[in-house]
Assembly symmetry: C2
Homo-oligomer: 316 residues x 2
């Protein structure tokens, strides 16, 4: 892929690739939540996506577009979370060898999920240098292609397929509130929204306790450290470079969500939608809650981005 | 309605009534659960039904068939659980006054839900005599019609609509495993299955710690006390008289589920289906788990009967 933003054609191709194997996830809603907020909230259920998160989309697109160019010996990534599972699953599906580098202190349940999808797990020290070093060593030694979790145009184009679907599922949508960690899903959603003919405001939603995207968006300079102090563990990462480029040019804003509102939104999702999601999936609703006056009377889509939760860590 | 089992026509009429206002709830599945069990399990999502449980069906049918005969002054029931919410909701929808008698020690969240649907709440002592006494007094004083939670043919015909739907949603189903407390859903499902042209085995599933239905089914004599020692609080009730009549004649068996298996099944439903259900909704899967050899290679439907859970009481 060229070293410029994914084109309309790239997004279309990603859709062709992704819909072969991924679910067209349903839209859910709750009269009770709408009443409480004074707006109409549509929930896109990416926690029901293959591997339990939207990350399956990016992994599929990265591997299928890679395979269209070369026959890779294998792929490698580092991840303690949903990207690792997604890459393991997609590689297995497409018959590509995969290694996932995982920090030594990652939860056993996540390591087992990656192994269950058939990927090889390499343990490293729990810091970014060790992760990247191991990843690069496997790339050099085995010739495996590195597939980054978000800072990659094939991944971004893959994640764009979620918003492409939403635009076909909901008419006259006013706003989309997309959770932002590394920024893969938000940057993809921005490209999809821009290239549709629909009028739609697209906001990021971020835990205040990991406010690097908001800070970067405001100042125009990318902050390179996230924050570990949020319950929304999937969103602790700082923005990627390519993601920041797209987000700083195209987003309509980044909305903060306090930890209290994330917990309250999570409770509503369990109580009213009856969906078991991970805390990161509540951040988008929490941002609507926290900025309710902005959305009053509007049709808003909120993203249930993942459901791979540690049941023991539920804050109820 | 006549004092005999609901007829094919009653079931058909119930379907006409119920589908006007209730959801046709979706069927869910999980490759991981199928792999673990060696059979294909379809989950009927009644936790996504109006009011968060299948009880909305019975309440709707009871009120709509009542209204077809008379213009009731109001209706009254006693319930600390899903039937109370269902009757409150259906009454409000149809413009009928409703009183729900609730034990003094019922969780605030359940009382508030009943009130939110617009019903009047009367508190009583937490025992069956006090509940029935209050109920009867309101019936006498106000002329309100008593709508029992399960021991009633209109309720049974209403609950039958769930199985009527399932038979149109899943082809070549081998078995249905239906949770049993008072027996409204199981007796309705048995009538629906019998009156379809499909071959289908229908089993009840019951917590071993509240094994009255199994005992009654084996001995042919109705045991009138349930058991409070199960986490599946929706299934602590003993079988109703009319329900027992139908179940003892038509069920293919009652399967037990241990508390450990109920908790494991509940965990699977959260982890693999990503659905937030109440513990009673895990009993049907727990019974499949506990009797896995019976179902190997079969197509089985398991019922997620409700999702009105006390988040604080989750056993994770």
């Amino acid at each position: 892929m060229k070293n410029e933003f994914p084109s309309k054609r790239d997004l279309y191709e990603a859709m062709e690739y992704v819909q072969q194997y991924a679910h067209r996830t349903p839209i859910l809603s709750s009269g009770m939540i709408n009443e409480k907020l004074g707006c109409t909230v549509y929930f896109k259920s990416e926690h029901l996506q293959k591997t339990g998160s939207f990350k399956a989309r990016g992994a599929l697109n990265a591997l299928l577009s890679l395979k269209a160019d070369i026959e890779p010996k294998g792929v490698v990534t580092h991840s303690s979370g949903n990207h690792g599972q997604a890459l393991a699953w997609a590689s297995n599906l497409l018959g590509i060898a995969a290694v996932v580098v995982v920090p030594r202190n990652a939860p056993t349940v996540k390591v087992e999920a990656i192994q269950a999808y058939g990927a090889e797990v390499f343990f490293c020290e729990p810091n970014l240098e060790s992760r990247e070093e191991h990843c690069f060593r496997i790339h050099k030694e085995r010739g495996y292609v590195i597939i980054p979790p978000f800072d990659d145009y094939r991944i971004i184009a893959g994640q764009s397929t979620m918003m492409q679907e939403i635009l076909g599922q909901i008419d006259d949508l006013d706003c989309a509130i997309v959770p932002v960690g590394g920024g893969g899903l938000l940057s993809g959603s921005l490209l999809a929204a821009e290239r549709s003919s629909k009028e739609l405001l697209v906001f990021g939603a971020e835990p205040s306790a990991s406010g690097d995207a908001m800070e970067s968006f405001k100042t125009g300079v990318r902050v390179r450290t996230g924050g570990a102090e949020t319950i929304a563990d999937g969103l602790r990462t700082a923005l990627g470079e390519r993601n920041f480029e797209i987000i700083s040019k195209k987003a309509d804003g980044i909305l903060p969500a306090s930890e209290d509102n994330i917990k309250l939104a999570l409770k509503w999702i369990y109580m009213y939608l009856k969906q078991a999601v991970e805390p990161s999936a509540a951040v988008s609703l929490a941002a609507i809650l926290e900025n309710a006056e902005v959305f009053r009377g509007k049709k808003v889509v909120s993203i249930l981005c993942g459901g791979n939760l540690d049941l023991k860590a539920l804050p109820f």
